[in-house]
Symmetry: C2
Subunit: 110 residues, 2 copies
Amino acid sequence: MAERTTTGHRAAPEHTHPDDVPVLAALAALADPVRIALVRELAGSPVWTRSCGSFDVPVGKAALSHHFSVLRGAGLVEQRDEGPRRVNRLRREEFDARFPGLLALVLREE
Amino acid sequence: MAERTTTGHRAAPEHTHPDDVPVLAALAALADPVRIALVRELAGSPVWTRSCGSFDVPVGKAALSHHFSVLRGAGLVEQRDEGPRRVNRLRREEFDARFPGLLALVLREE
DNA sequence: CCGAGTGTTCGATGAAAACCATACACTCCG
DNA sequence: CGGAGTGTATGGTTTTCATCGAACACTCGG
């Protein structure tokens, strides 16, 4: 209702630090095939090079956007606006410090 | 249908070895508050001492039975029939060998 | 052999989550 | 400034999953 001042995608994405993420949330975030694919593909690319739309997953834009939102909320991904596109970074060190070995586990079997 | 020869709970529970468990399944199994509680409580008890009904979780028997089924399928729990009750064992070594650190992650914060 | 205790199965219900199509916001380039 | 490219928000559908109640199977102790 109302409050439609500026609802674009330029609101500076909300990030959650891995330290503030419960284990359950981390596991839930990774317990999805699409999100696992995103994380793996992201891990195989240089930092800040992959825009959201550049991933090879079988879902539409809306669902994709939602998945990235979940990954952000789990402290797995950091996003930055670069021109018209939103580029991503896997929070390797930070996430691994909070959940040692978890990321390695997911990446170990691509 | 039919096939109702022996549907009790004495059919020797089907077990899945951790080695045969996909990462996704392991994560999905642990991405549930009740199952996490079961695993933690089980980890804090001597082996083969806890029957299914002896856990302090806020769900009925049916749901509980289902949760144990999931844990078995993820290679997390082994069950054995002991008289009228079914006792449990956490597959620490085996599961940790397959998914190093994952169990520790869940147990680290009780 | 019956009854209490234990756990599984079935069917149904409700809530959560994934998904899509559409509409919109923002950036850039021509 | 207008259009193409990119991502988000919303609303509604579908699927998935946790849960319950009830019926059943099994074991053991009177």
